[in-house]
C-alpha cells in the first residue's frame, strides 16, 4: 500500500545550478502533504542514493537542465540499484520527448517536462510511489 505521506529526496546532480524548478517542486510536494528531503546542488548519484537509504525514502526527484540527463539520470537509477533500493526516480527539466523515452527505458519512473503543472508533478510522484509498492 502506498504511504499516506510519501518521503521524497530531491536533488540537483552534477554541476548545473538551475534550481528554480526544483525549489518550486519542493514546495509544491510539501504543500501536497509529502515529506521532502531537499539536498540542493551538486550532488552525485551515489550520495543521493545513500540519503535515500538512510532516510528510508519512497522516491527520488532530480532536475536536469543542461543536457546531461542521458548520463546522470540512468546513473541515479543504477546507484539506487547498487544499494538494493527500489525507490522510483522521477526526472524533471529540459528533456526532449525522445530522450524521455530513452530515460524511461533506462528505468526512470516518470519524466516531467518544462511546464508540468503542480498537479502533474504531485500525480507523477504519487503514481510512481504507488506502482512500486
Amino acid at each position: 500500500m502506498a504511504p499516506e505521506r510519501p518521503r521524497i529526496v530531491l536533488a540537483k546532480l552534477g554541476f548545473d545550478g538551475h534550481d528554480r524548478g526544483l525549489k518550486v517542486v519542493a514546495r509544491t510536494l510539501r504543500d501536497a502533504g509529502m515529506e521532502v528531503v531537499y539536498l540542493g546542488l551538486r550532488q552525485t548519484p551515489e550520495a543521493v542514493a545513500s540519503v535515500v537509504e538512510q532516510e528510508d525514502a519512497d522516491a527520488v526527484g532530480i532536475s536536469m537542465h543542461n543536457a546531461s540527463h542521458l548520463t546522470l539520470a540512468p546513473a541515479m537509477v543504477e546507484a539506487l540499484r547498487a544499494l538494493g533500493l527500489d525507490a522510483p526516480v522521477v526526472v524533471g527539466g529540459i528533456i526532449p520527448e525522445r530522450d524521455a523515452d530513452e530515460l524511461r527505458a533506462a528505468g526512470v519512473a516518470a519524466v516531467l517536462g518544462p511546464g508540468a503543472s503542480a498537479r502533474e508533478v504531485v500525480e507523477a510522484v504519487r503514481g510512481a510511489v504507488a506502482a512500486r509498492r
Binding site: G14, R20, A26, T44, A67, S68, E97, G115, S117
Partner: protein, 554 residues
C-alpha cells in the same frame, strides 16, 4: 508636455534642448531615411527634458541613440571541443560578425577539469570545454584577436579564462593592450541566482577587483565585469528585484574596487550591465529606464564619479529564456519578438534573442536564425530605431519607471541597513543569510502558484492548449563522443608539459593568494603558460580561499 515639438528650436545655449541639439549635431548618423513608412519625416526625439545623453540618462545613454548605431545583435556560440567551436566562430566571422560570444560547458564554469569525476556527462554539452591554454589557443586559432571583440560568459573562474586569453593572444603576437572584449565575471549574482560559484564570496570579490585593477592598468579596451541581472530574473525574481539586486551588485563592485585603492573613474567607464527582458512589456521598459537613472545618480552622488562615462549604465539585454514554453514552441517566436521590442524601446546597447526551441535544448540552427531575424525585423522594418526613447513622456511609462526606482531604493535601504552603511557588506550579509535566494524563491513560487491556479494565463500551458500534443524532436543534440575526445586532448597536454614548472607556478600562485595586497593576474598568467589545468589552478586557490556551500533556503 509638448508632444511632437521639435527639440531645440527656441532654446537658450545653456538649456537642455540646445545642449542636446549640439550633441546630436556632432553624432554620426546611419545612412537611412528617418521617416515613417508613409514618408513623413520624424524628429530624433520628442517630449521634454532630460533628453537622451543627458543626466540622469533615463532616456538613453547617447544623444542620437539608434540613429547613429543600431544595437549590437550578439548571439552566443559554444559547444563540444575547442575545434568545434572554432569552426563555428569562423563561420560567424565569415558571415560578417565582428564579435564573438563564448559559452563554456559546466565543468569549465565550475573550475573543474574534464577528467574530474563530477564532470561526467557534462563535458562539451552546454558550451565548449576548456581545460588548459591549448584549448583557448585552439578555440581562437586563425582568428586575429586584435580585430575581434570577444565576450566570455564565465564567472567563478573568469580571472583564469582572462589569463588564458591574454596568454593565447600574446603567443600569437597580439599584445594585451590590443585586446577588446568582456568577461562576465559577476560573482555576486552567482550566490544569489545562478550558483556557479567556486570560492566563498569575499575571496571571489577579490578576484573580481584584481581583474578590474589589472585591466584598468594593462588592457584599456577590456570590460572586466558585466553586472548581470539576467540570471537573477531567470531564477525567478520579479522585475523590481532584478533591477535592485543587479544595481546593488554593481555598487558592491564599485565599493570593493575603490576600497582596493582604485579611483572610481579609472574603472567605472568599463563596467557594463546585462538585463533580462520578460513578457510584461511596460514593466520591462520602465525597468531599463530606471536602471540608467539610478546608476547615474548613485555613481555621481554617492561614489563621487566625475567622468561622465562613469555614470552611463550601458547594457546588453537577453530575452527571457524562462518565459519560453516547451509546448507549442513556435509561439515563443511571438514572445521573443515582444520582449526584444521592449529591449529596443528601453534603449539597450546590445541584444540576444532566444531561439524558440530553447525550452527543449540548445538552439537548432534554424531556430537561432529566426531569433536573429526577429531583431533585424525590429531594427529595420518597424521604425523604432528612428526616435530615441519613443515612450518617454507616456504617463504610464514614466510612472512605471518611478515605481521601479522606488522599489529598488527600498532594497538598497535594506542592504545599507544590514551592511552597516555599505552596500558591499549588505550584499555579503544577504548572501550568507540566504536573504537573496529566499526572496527569489518566494517570488518564483508565487508566480508558479498563480499559473497553476489559473490566475495568470500562459498560452499553451494553462490555456489555449490545443496543439500541445505535437512532439518536437528536431532539437540539437551534442555527440557524446565529444567527452572522450576532450579527455584525450587533456591527457596529451598533461603528458607533454614540464611538471616542475607547473608545480612552481602553482606554488607561486598560492603564495600570491595568501597576500591580499598582491594582484593575482600575473601569477595566473604564469600558471596557464606553464600549462597548469584550470582544475589545478582552482585547487591552488582553494587551498587558500576554501570552498563554499550555500545555505539551503527552499
Amino acid at each position: 508636455m509638448d508632444r511632437g515639438h521639435p527639440v531645440g528650436e527656441t532654446a537658450e545655449p545653456t538649456d537642455p534642448r540646445r545642449a542636446w541639439q549640439e550633441a546630436y549635431g556632432r553624432s554620426p548618423l546611419r545612412d537611412v531615411p528617418f521617416e515613417t513608412m508613409s514618408g513623413v519625416p520624424v524628429e530624433p526625439v520628442y517630449g521634454d527634458p532630460p533628453y537622451p545623453g543627458q543626466y540622469p540618462y533615463t532616456r538613453g545613454v547617447y544623444p542620437s541613440m539608434y540613429r547613429s548605431r543600431l544595437w549590437t545583435m550578439r548571439m552566443f556560440a559554444g559547444f563540444g571541443s575547442a575545434d568545434d567551436t572554432n569552426r563555428r566562430f569562423k563561420e560567424l566571422l565569415r558571415a560578417g560578425g565582428t564579435g564573438l560570444s563564448t559559452a563554456f560547458d559546466m565543468p569549465t564554469l565550475l573550475g573543474a577539469d574534464s577528467d574530474s569525476p563530477g564532470a561526467r556527462g557534462e563535458v562539451g554539452r552546454a558550451g565548449v570545454a576548456v581545460d588548459t591554454l591549448v584549448d583557448v589557443q585552439d578555440l581562437f586559432a586563425g582568428i586575429d584577436l586584435s580585430a575581434v571583440s570577444t565576450s566570455m560568459t564565465v564567472n567563478g573562474p573568469a580571472a583564469i579564462l582572462l589569463a588564458m586569453y591574454v596568454a593565447a593572444a600574446e603567443a600569437s603576437g597580439v599584445a594585451r593592450r590590443e585586446l577588446g572584449g568582456t568577461i562576465q565575471n559577476d560573482i555576486l549574482k552567482e550566490y544569489q541566482a545562478q550558483k556557479e560559484y567556486i570560492f566563498p564570496p569575499r575571496p571571489s570579490v577579490r578576484l573580481v577587483t584584481d581583474t578590474i585593477a589589472f585591466t584598468a592598468a594593462e588592457m584599456p579596451r577590456w570590460h572586466p565585469v558585466s553586472i548581470s541581472g539576467y540570471h537573477i530574473r531567470e531564477a525567478g525574481s520579479t522585475a523590481a528585484q532584478e533591477l535592485a539586486f543587479t544595481l546593488a551588485n554593481g555598487f558592491a563592485y564599485v565599493e570593493a574596487a575603490t576600497a582596493a585603492g582604485l579611483d572610481v573613474d579609472a574603472f567605472a567607464p568599463r563596467l557594463s550591465f546585462f538585463f533580462n527582458c520578460h513578457n510584461d512589456f511596460f514593466e520591462e521598459i520602465g525597468k531599463l529606464r530606471a536602471a540608467r537613472r539610478i546608476w547615474a545618480r548613485w555613481m555621481r552622488e554617492r561614489y563621487g564619479a566625475r567622468d561622465e562615462r562613469s555614470l552611463l549604465c550601458r547594457f546588453h539585454t537577453q530575452t527571457a529564456g524562462v518565459s519560453l514554453t516547451a509546448t507549442q514552441p513556435e509561439v515563443n517566436i511571438a514572445r521573443v519578438a515582444i520582449q526584444a521590442l521592449a529591449a529596443a524601446l528601453g534603449g539597450t546597447q546590445s541584444l540576444h534573442t532566444d531561439a524558440f526551441d530553447e525550452a527543449l535544448a540548445l538552439p537548432s540552427d534554424r531556430a537561432a536564425r529566426i531569433a536573429l531575424r526577429t531583431q533585424q525585423v525590429i531594427a529595420h522594418e518597424t521604425g523604432v530605431a528612428n526616435v530615441a526613447d519613443p515612450l518617454g513622456g507616456s504617463g504610464y511609462v514614466e510612472w512605471m519607471t518611478d515605481e521601479l526606482e522606488r522599489q529598488a531604493e527600498e532594497v538598497f535601504d535594506h542592504l545599507l541597513a544590514t551592511g552597516g552603511g555599505s552596500v558591499l557588506e549588505g550584499v555579503y550579509e544577504g548572501i550568507e543569510s540566504g536573504w537573496f535566494v529566499g526572496r527569489i524563491a518566494e517570488a518564483s513560487y508565487a508566480y508558479e502558484r498563480d499559473v497553476n491556479e489559473g490566475r495568470r494565463i500562459v498560452v499553451g500551458v494553462n490555456a489555449f492548449t490545443e496543439g500541445n500534443e505535437d512532439r518536437v524532436d528536431d532539437v540539437l543534440r551534442i555527440d557524446p563522443a565529444v567527452e572522450e575526445y576532450q579527455l584525450q586532448r587533456l591527457a596529451r597536454v598533461r603528458s607533454a608539459r614540464d611538471p616542475g614548472a607547473v608545480a612552481a607556478a602553482l606554488r607561486a600562485l598560492g603564495e600570491c593568494a595568501a597576500d591580499p595586497a598582491r594582484n593575482l593576474m600575473p601569477p595566473l598568467i604564469d600558471a596557464v603558460r606553464a600549462h597548469a589545468t584550470e582544475g589545478e589552478i582552482v585547487g591552488a586557490l582553494q587551498a587558500v580561499f576554501g570552498g563554499y556551500v550555500e545555505r539551503i533556503v527552499v
